[in-house]
């Protein structure tokens, strides 16, 4: 059985990716099970989807904990524990990352025995490490690149070596047809490029079989200890614990205040931020809380002197990392 897991953000077409791949396997004669897995899908928020494919009916269910292939549509998710990219990844797994960085860089960074393959599916404008600041400023909001999903599905299909190009074309057409010819064409061109880009790696993904009942790691079952209601009732006896959830991780576009232009009318941006993620300093200046800012950009739209610009988050992060390495300082990301 092929066990494949996709990781991405809301808005990147991850559910579509799993369906394109699922349909491709199905058209290639496999029994298939595919599903997205999300709480409530939020734009920019990490989510995953999975595909199982086998010649016999698929009986396994639930999230894939021992993936043969993990496909990461947005490389900013790899280092985010909450996204769960590395769950169950071992020496058998192939890790396909959509990134401008090299496989060797990722290998070192992740210290994993998994095989790492790079796909370069996102817009190259602004992604290029050598590009000027201006070019990078034009970088696109990753939550507005739904065709990343198609590319990831194409790359995954190629790697399995059991889905032909023709079958993939049929599958993508089938899944995206309801969105119109233009969308199909745009996705198809980009996806087929990704399919072709994987030609040197075809067959690198191999199936895995059922866990053995002869030798298995026993579940560490315990008897749940009884606890009084004052502890065991479903209640939270603390205030504002939500601040521990870093919703800043959803952000694909970062608002940045240009304090030269800022006129200090914090009552505009700070009031309009739905999440209350703009604080006011003692000096009466707005200060964006990047741990929690979701990047809705309402502040950008509402700022009277237009003193807030938006930069693609992955570009902003890259700048921070470069600045950190040159100054030797540590930046909070």
């Amino acid at each position: 059985m092929f066990r494949i897991r996709f990781h991405g953000r809301g808005g990147q077409g991850i559910k579509t990716a799993s369906r394109i791949l699922g349909t491709a396997f199905f058209m290639a004669g496999y029994e298939v099970q595919d599903a997205p897995r999300y709480g409530a899908e939020r734009r920019g928020a990490p989510l995953f989807a999975y595909v199982r494919a086998d010649k016999s009916p698929v009986n396994e269910r639930g999230i894939i904990s021992q993936p043969d292939l993990v496909v990461v549509a947005d490389d900013t998710l790899v280092g985010m524990p909450a996204a769960g990219v590395m769950q169950g990844v071992d020496q058998h797994t192939v890790l396909l990352i959509n990134s401008q960085e090299k496989a060797e860089t990722w290998s070192q960074r992740l210290n994993t025995p998994a095989t790492i393959i790079i796909l370069t599916a996102t817009e190259t404008v602004g992604e290029d490490a050598e590009a000027s600041d201006d070019a990078r400023e034009a970088a696109i909001d990753r939550a507005e690149l739904p065709y990343i999903g198609s590319s990831c599905a194409a790359a995954a299909a190629a790697l399995t070596n059991v889905i032909s190009r023709d079958v993939f074309v049929d599958a993508l057409t089938e899944e995206l047809k309801p969105l119109g010819e233009n969308i199909v064409k745009k996705n198809m061109d980009i996806a087929l490029a990704a399919f072709a880009a994987m030609s040197q790696h075809v067959g690198i993904v191999s199936e895995s079989s059922l866990p053995s009942a002869k030798e298995y790691i026993k579940p560490e079952w315990i008897k749940l200890p009884f606890e009084e209601a004052k502890i065991s009732a479903p209640a939270i006896h603390a205030g504002v614990t939500s601040v521990k959830v870093r919703t800043g991780l959803w952000r694909t576009m970062r608002p940045v205040i240009d304090y030269e232009r800022c006129s200090g009318c914090w009552w505009i941006c700070s009031t309009y931020c739905p999440d209350g993620a703009i604080n006011v300093t003692d000096e009466g200046l707005p200060d964006i809380d990047y741990d929690h800012c979701k990047g809705c950009l309402i502040c950008v739209a509402q700022c009277p002197p237009q003193a807030i610009e938006s930069i693609a988050e992955h570009v902003a992060k890259h700048r921070e990392m470069s600045a950190a390495s040159t100054t030797g300082g540590v930046h909070d990301t």
Partner: protein
């Protein structure tokens, strides 16, 4: 017959479409919404000749379902957990009306705490109501069960509403291959809805669901409904045979897998049972004589078949994805009841409770259950009911509790007041 990938929700919607239902009272609830969205789109496009009305709550929705069915039209509706329970007064009532229709329940754990994920406590709450109850393990089974359920529900000896249950997320949002029966053959199988004497019409006085005085009359009506549910035991096999002949797929009341020489048996309901199939395969490879009995028809409870299948086994583990507070696993208690007093009862009838709120049951847990069954059978020890829970899960909740029980309120930084 076309075979395609469909989610459980789409499979359910197709079942309604192929059954040529007339009326769909609706109300949205996660994880069922895709069903009503599909139906609404087909109706809007003219692909399906039915009327859909969104009611303001499930209590109203189920009332409308029953009243429409009592007025001579074929009805389909769908709900889940909180919605099913909100309408519970009417669940009992419409069954008491002897109004036949089919309702999909997409199983989801019950509040509180509120969850969106699957378990069987919601559907279990309807078990005493008079609704027939069928539990599906695959998306294919959902479409097929909707068709079969109209035959059951509308059968003259039954004439009761039926619930077809599918697990939320694991089936509802998961695509699997489904062979959709050809529309004409499906329509022929289900047939036309004959409301008999159950329709309002000028010139035909009809007072339904009136009050009653006295335990005698009340008992008559209630006993009859119970007998009608039981009737499904004899009617079911005929319908299942006909379905198998027409469409090539066979659905027994209890789906047995590798049961012929099984010493150890797992008993389950719903989609997780397919996971247990894999576990049975792995265990067989490791030399165990294991089998799986999946209860598909839950109401009426196929007691005789349960006795036939489980008698003579060394040990049986019943896995409940539900919990009756203060008692334990509901399926376990019903199986125990069915087996009581028979010759050759299984040596051991163990109870495992898991899967609550979508909690996974891993292959290793199935393996360990069989291992425990063997050990207990060898030593003659009783096995206490087990609430499936691991050391890691306890650590996880402790970490969460540390946040929830924090002594001090954490005020976020940079909280300053401007003068």
């Amino acid at each position: 017959m076309t075979r395609r990938l469909l989610t459980g929700n789409s499979a359910a919607a197709w079942g309604a479409r192929l059954a040529q239902v007339d009326y769909v009272p609706a109300f949205p609830i996660t994880p069922q919404t895709e069903i009503i969205e599909d139906l609404s789109l087909w109706i809007d496009r003219g692909e399906m000749d039915a009327r859909m009305v969104t009611l303001e709550s499930e209590h109203s929705m189920i009332t409308a379902a029953g009243s429409a069915a009592s007025s001579g039209v074929r009805v389909f509706t769908a709900t889940s957990s909180q919605g099913l329970l909100y309408g519970m007064e009417m669940v009992y009532t419409v069954a008491g009306w002897r109004a036949p229709f089919v309702m999909i329940n997409v199983s989801r754990g019950l509040s509180s705490p509120i969850t969106l994920e699957s378990d069987h406590n919601d559907i279990m709450a309807a078990r005493d109501s008079g609704f027939l109850q069928i539990h599906c393990a695959t998306c294919q089974e959902i479409t097929d069960s909707v068709l079969m359920s109209y035959r059951l529900a509308e059968h003259k000896e039954i004439r009761l509403p039926a619930i077809v249950n599918q697990d939320g997320f694991y089936l509802s949002f998961t695509r699997e291959p489904v062979s959709l029966p050809d529309a004409d053959r499906a329509a022929a199988f289900v047939g036309e809805f004959d409301p008999e004497n159950l329709q309002f019409k000028s010139g035909a006085p009809l007072s339904q669901a009136m009050a009653v005085l006295g335990g005698g009359p009340y008992s008559y009506f209630r006993y009859q409904a119970h007998l009608a549910v039981e009737r499904a035991l004899s009617v079911y096999d005929e319908i299942a045979d006909e379905f198998a002949d027409t469409f090539g797929r066979r659905y027994d009341m209890i789906d047995s897998y590798m049961m012929d020489d099984a010493e150890y048996v797992l008993v389950m309901m719903g989609s997780f049972a397919t996971k247990a199939r894999d576990a049975v395969d792995s265990l067989r490879q490791a030399g165990w004589k294991v089998g799986l009995a999946r209860i598909r028809l839950f109401r009426p409870l196929p007691q005789q078949k349960i006795r036939q299948l489980l008698s003579g086994r060394r040990a049986v583990a019943v896995i409940d994805q539900n919990i009756s507070m203060g008692m334990g696993g509901i399926l376990h208690s019903e199986i125990a009841m069915a087996l009581y007093g028979i010759n050759d009862a299984p040596g051991l009838l163990a109870s495992y409770i898991g899967g609550l709120g979508g909690r996974d049951i891993r292959q290793q847990e199935f393996f360990e259950m069989i291992s425990e069954l063997k050990q207990a059978s060898d030593t003659g020890d009783r096995l206490q009911p087990r609430l499936l829970y691991t050391k890691n899960e306890l650590t996880e909740i402790r970490n969460l509790q540390a946040i929830a029980q924090a002594e001090h309120v954490e005020i976020k930084q940079a909280e300053r007041k401007k003068k």
